[in-house]
Amino acid sequence: MTITPEIVASHGLTPDEYKKVLDILGREPNLVELGIFSVMWSEHCSYKSSKRWLRQLPTTGPRVICGPGENAGVVDIGDGLAAVFKIESHNHPSFIEPYQGAATGVGGILRDVFTMGARPIANLNALRFGSPEHPKTRHLVAGVVAGIGGYGNCVGVPTIGGECEFHPAYNGNILVNAMTIGLAKADRIFYSKAAGPGNAVVYVGAKTGRDGIHGATMASAEFSDDSEEKRPTVQVGDPFTEKLLIEACLELMESDAIVAIQDMGAAGLTSSSVEMAGKGGLGIELDLDRVPVRETGMTPYEIMLSESQERMLMILRPGSEEAARRIFEKWELDFAVIGRVTETGRLVLKKGGETVCDIPVGPVSAEAPVYDRPWLPQPKAEPVEAPTAEPIDALRRLLGSPDLASKRWIWEQYDHLVMGQTVIRPGGDAALVRIPGTNKGIAAVVDCTPRYCVADPTAGGAQAVAETWRNLTAIGALPLAITDNLNFGNPERPEIMGQIVGCIEGMRWACLALDYPVVSGNVSLYNETNGQAILPTPVIGGVGLVEDVTRAVTIAFKGAGETILLVGETKGHLGASIYLREIAGKEAGAPPPVDLEAERRNGDFVREQILAGRVTACHDLSDGGLLVAIAEMAMAGDVGATLEVETTPGFLFGEDQSRYLLTTREPETLLARAQAAGVPARVVGRTGGGALTLPGGRAISVAELRQVHESWLPNYMSGH
């Protein structure tokens, strides 16, 4: 088959990139080879537009065992244990087929984590949908939530947290970002670097079918209206097989059989074999006749590019093959030696005795194109005027708005209790799971405020990182590290590239200031349809450590007669706020600035007071500001409060950063300690009664708050 410019273009390679392929090979590639270059050099696998900027993120620290570049990041949590985690997007597949797209997103991220030798102990997800009024939104929400639940519930990993927001900018491109956290022994981490020429390359898991061929290139292409035609490329997940694969892999990992292991995710057998060989500076030779297939007549091209799920590639130590085979056969999974590690540095594929591919591994993986795309800084946002509104009425409207309404309808469809270690359930600031056999806990959260990122990418990037740090702090956890999922539009447009550059810069500042490195991540670009890009959405997944889970606090008011303290400075910033959007219908203004020094000082103070046992409940202030946060604490505890506050919109609904609400029975001690630490703190009210009461006597019952807060999503979803 002759490779025409049309075939090159349909593989997503530019003429320049194809020229580079010709230079590397010194000849024309065949179709298999072209397919391999195409997926390895796709945005999804190569990070070619973002790499230059991602390199600037801090990725090391005293606790970091493994940073970005492996299947997942690894952080030391003491006592010989490590937390292994990563977040990954499955945006495009979920738009095309919401149930399977979301389900396989969960499956993929789970594999990234147990590949490293960790047992998955928690899942989270960050979702963005289009306007609730858009005709597709309801169907997409229903499918995505069912898919995430269907997969996570079956494999038996609790889904403990997440976020879900709506905005018309996601009408044509929803976001489904899934995160998994696993637990491993710190000295038993498994990596993907191939070693030992002659060692067996082993395929385990499910059989290979024709599903998802070219998923990785699809994930790197803009949508147009005919993309629903791309449906056949969506993979189908089998959580039952995944569960068996987890158990089989972890059982094998008890032994010393594995030299290297890599899951077959995007670009399947291609990326796993190329990446393993590339990292080891070695070659791999595979006999494609030995690959377990589900369908007859599969071509080498199809076998190499299939994205069938629940598959792994391993390199085994000599002599351990039979023991390994017995484990996989016990779990009724396929196990096949499909090739050998070689010293040639080449990827050689055979089928029917013929060589169907022979390319150098190094250039395919290491010499992938890297672009320094032109970018434009975002113009500074104009200041805006915020209107005044009756506070109780405004509170009611905010709590019943799609972004602030309770997401219980979603998380009650996720098994968040399996494993029996869930200490703090979804619905609060961060979730917490105990580490079996210890008193320690892993806290986790995902967060991003896209309306800040679009108004000021740098401030928005910093805010996203800081907010996860604050969420972890608010339960008493020590924030350790993050994983990031950078979701943006088309990087070939300078204004989009400007958003990417700005957000990464802001993230970098915050990570440095908070000693909170990035240990893993994923980039999803080209999230646009017919030129309409999503809001810049750099989702941050934060992971923290609690040494004694009984010391952690929740957002719920614990009883009457406690003092409510506000920690942090309130200037009444309403630019880019939810109040402005929901009450005035304006998406305008600059986001609240993030003072990272104050962030750290306030947060360290709050954590110290929580761990000292002086705090009975804690909640960070974010979307909707003070009054929304107090209402959330009241609803969670079913206890009201009487407030002593200024009733200006800025004070009640402003979104100034680095702030927390605490309840305490020792207000004097806390205030004195705050003053000593240079942390602004003041009394804003007392808990008690069945209503929230403002100065002047205006009030709303907790029952009514709950009715407004809990009803929006179920009502919306029942409106089929």
């Binding site: 519930n153 494999v155 569960k243 399996v418």
Partner: protein, 229 residues
């Protein structure tokens, strides 16, 4: 009390069950893989929750027909107490050890939240740690927990004191709101004729430690341990 927890491919709440049993009885239970050649002599056999065989075809159907279930049936016939929770309950129904079947929840959705249960009969080896009429709070986590049986079977279950637990409000009333999965007569758990086999959808094992938010499940395991000591 010596307990064995049987796991199938796809079981996923066995750790919760093993932890709860050990926490409350102080003894490590045996973990038995469905394909193990023999089922050891024990005082209690537990089939835990999960998605055995992916819950493909029907929940619990394939596990119910696996060889180890023949041995479980023989032990049940000989009087060994058998406890099936969630998928375990579905398996016991499919295996014919308990009457009826668990259909998909009326909402067609997976449910994960705390429910209140009323103990309907405390005169059994499983429920002696509770008093009849006591209300306990434990979580559910299932998509197919909608108990169904024909009216004659339901009448017989009620008449013979074989309804173990019912979904109720916090103050003990079996309302429609308390019965979110749509189970016949709010039934959450049932016994066999001899009250030595119990199947229930909720997870008492996930309410046995203060960090889990409720310890109301302890009564079941403590009662069993005392009765079988």
């Amino acid at each position: 009390m010596k307990a064995a927890v049987i796991t199938f491919p796809g079981s996923n709440r066995e750790t919760d069950m093993l932890d709860a049993l050990e926490r409350i009885t102080g003894k490590k239970p045996l973990r038995v893989w469905h394909a193990d050649s023999e089922l050891p002599k024990v005082d209690l056999i537990v089939i835990p929750g999960g998605f055995s065989y992916g819950d493909y075809l029907r929940c619990g159907a394939m596990a119910a027909h696996s060889p180890i279930m023949r041995e479980v049936k023989a032990r049940a016939a000989a009087g060994t107490p058998i406890l099936g929770v969630c998928n375990g309950f579905q398996i016991l129904c499919e295996a014919g050890l308990l009457p009826g079947v668990l259909l998909v929840n009326e909402t067609l959705k997976f449910h994960c939240f705390d429910v209140h249960l009323r103990v309907e009969n405390s005169q059994t080896v499983f429920t002696s740690g509770y008093s009849t009429g006591q209300v306990i709070r434990v979580p559910v986590a299932h998509r197919d927990g909608n108990y169904f049986a024909d009216p004659e079977t339901l009448d017989r279950l009620e008449g013979e004191g074989r309804v173990a637990f019912r979904y109720v409000t916090a103050d003990g009333v079996p309302t429609k709101e308390a019965n979110k999965n749509g189970s016949a007569r709010n039934i959450a758990g049932i016994f066999n004729e001899t009250k030595t086999v119990l199947g229930l959808m909720p997870h008492p094992e996930d309410a046995t430690d203060p960090i889990q938010g409720s310890t109301d499940g302890i009564g079941l395991f403590r009662g069993l341990a005392e009765a079988l000591a």
